[in-house]
């Protein structure tokens, strides 16, 4: 079953090629817009006395995730693939886990590769880049996992987008705080270990919690039909 599910995810990823490119483009685009709208934020950041850039970076990562999450289960819900999964799968749990993993691969994981470019655009100091990449690597799984819960509950609503945001953004808060803090510490040359532990812990808790909660959420959504 795992193999079939992975194959399908992969085929869908290839067919709708946008899935991979679009989050990247969106992240770069919103960063650009933000810098254009508030150029002074970056000027202040450049002298490193202030720490606006890390916060902006993480906020934009959150938003990108949010937009990608909205469509996480929608196609499967509308086409009936979701109900077939819950009725047919020996272990629906695994199917959900695979789905979340692929979602993370096509958003969070890819964003890690964008760190140098984003750092350049936002004026992050280059010494902070490795820590930023690490922070994203450790923090974004939590975003995908927690976001999946919200996506599962809202997939039945047609106006899901905004409600989803209201549900999951508060859950994203810890990741945002520690993630931004890690970048700030790295910029200031301080140790980032506390934040590494914190982000890992959050992601682990999310991993323990999310698949079950998602499954429950999907069942509720399917019953709405």
């Amino acid at each position: 079953m795992i193999r079939a599910a992975l194959v399908r995810e992969w085929q869908v990823l290839l067919r709708g090629r946008g899935t991979v490119i679009n989050p990247i483009a969106f992240l770069l685009l919103t960063t650009t817009l933000f810098v254009i709208a508030a150029p002074d934020a970056m000027t202040t950041a450049a002298d490193q006395s202030s720490a606006v850039a890390p916060g902006v970076l993480w906020s934009l990562v959150l938003l990108t995730q949010l937009l990608a999450l909205d469509s996480m289960y929608r196609r499967d819900f509308d086409s009936g693939v979701l109900e077939q999964t819950l009725v047919g799968a020996q272990v629906p749990f695994v199917a959900v886990l695979i789905r979340i993993f692929m979602q993370w691969l096509s958003t969070g994981f890819i964003m890690v590769g964008l760190v140098p470019l984003l750092g350049l655009m936002l004026g992050l100091s280059s010494q902070a880049l490795p820590a930023t990449a690490l922070a994203l690597l450790l923090g974004t799984p939590a975003l995908s996992l927690l976001g999946s819960i919200g996506a599962s509950v809202t997939v039945g609503f047609n106006r899901g987008g905004v409600i989803l945001a209201l549900l999951v953004l508060p859950l994203f808060l810890p990741t945002l705080v520690f993630g931004a803090d890690m970048v700030i510490s790295a910029q200031a040359g301080r140790s980032v270990m506390p934040q590494v532990y914190a982000l890992s812990l959050i992601s682990l808790v999310a991993l323990a919690l999310a698949p079950f909660a998602t499954l429950a959420g999907l069942k509720i959504s399917l019953e709405m039909q």
């Binding site: 679009n22 770069l28 685009l29 650009t32 810098v35 254009i36 002074d40």
Partner: protein, 253 residues
């Protein structure tokens, strides 16, 4: 009289076959002109033009940067015009034109951005400055990406054609507004460290090669776009007799 023949020409232009035979000599023309002009401009600009008294030799990037930046905008406007014609007169050819301009435009825009930031390193002291022209070029790149993503997302050719024509058209209408607003924004907030808007008073030994390079870039674009359009037409018309005939003739001659 003139109107009627113009109209006939217009409708003929819409026919892939006619377009194909019309453009056969033009491909050769553009190809050779591009090769000659680019070679001439490159040698003149890189080897013979005097070094800039302020920037030294780094200014020679200009011979790539400026033509690329100009072409980037022209190609998008070309797409918008093609889109407009396609939507109003329902010509199938215009979609072929859009699909030919799109990748080239993206590459050229990326080239303008890249060459600009390589140039920015010695002159501005940084790879990137938020300045009116940099921003409008960057946004132009995103406009291209938008059309590209849209085309990727629609499977049916006919609908892909109409959707991308519509979006290219809307984007083109907005290009002047975007440029204007960004320039306005720039003058207000960021007294740029190096102003792009003030034309550097160049000696003619510097800008004449630039002119040649610009012409060369446009000929090159004409060459690539025609080539891509023609191969696309052959592919789409592969069932038609004339297209098969042509392929066979080419194959043997």
């Amino acid at each position: 009289m003139l109107g009627a023949s113009l109209k006939r020409l217009w409708h003929k232009l819409g026919s892939p076959r006619w377009f194909f035979s019309l453009t056969t000599p033009w491909v050769t023309f553009f190809g050779w002109s591009a090769a000659l002009l680019l070679l001439w401009g490159a040698i003149w600009g890189l080897a013979y033009a005097p070094a800039d008294y302020q920037q030294g030799n780094s200014f020679r990037i200009m011979y790539v940067h400026v033509p690329a930046a100009m072409l980037a905008q022209s190609l998008y406007i070309g797409m918008g015009v093609a889109g407009f014609i396609g939507l109003v007169w329902r010509m199938k050819l215009t979609d072929v034109a859009i699909s030919a301009c799109l990748p080239l435009g993206m590459v050229v825009t990326a080239l303008a951005l890249f060459s600009g930031s390589v140039w920015g390193r010695p002159t501005w002291g940084s790879w990137w400055e938020w300045d009116g022209r940099t921003v409008s070029t960057l946004v132009l790149f995103f406009l291209y990406v938008g059309v590209f993503a849209l085309r990727e997302a629609i499977a049916e050719a006919e609908l892909r054609a109409r959707a991308s024509a519509l979006i290219a058209m809307v984007g083109t209408v907005n290009i002047p507004i975007i440029k204007y607003s960004v320039e306005w924004w720039n003058t207000l907030h960021q007294p740029a460290s190096f102003s792009l808007t003030q034309k550097p008073t160049m000696p003619s030994e510097m800008w004449l090669p630039l002119l040649v390079m610009v012409l060369g870039f446009y000929c090159f674009a004409g060459f690539i776009v025609l080539l891509r359009m023609r191969s696309e037409i052959l592919q789409r018309e592969s069932n038609a007799r004339w297209a098969r005939d042509w392929i066979v003739r080419r194959g043997f001659s």
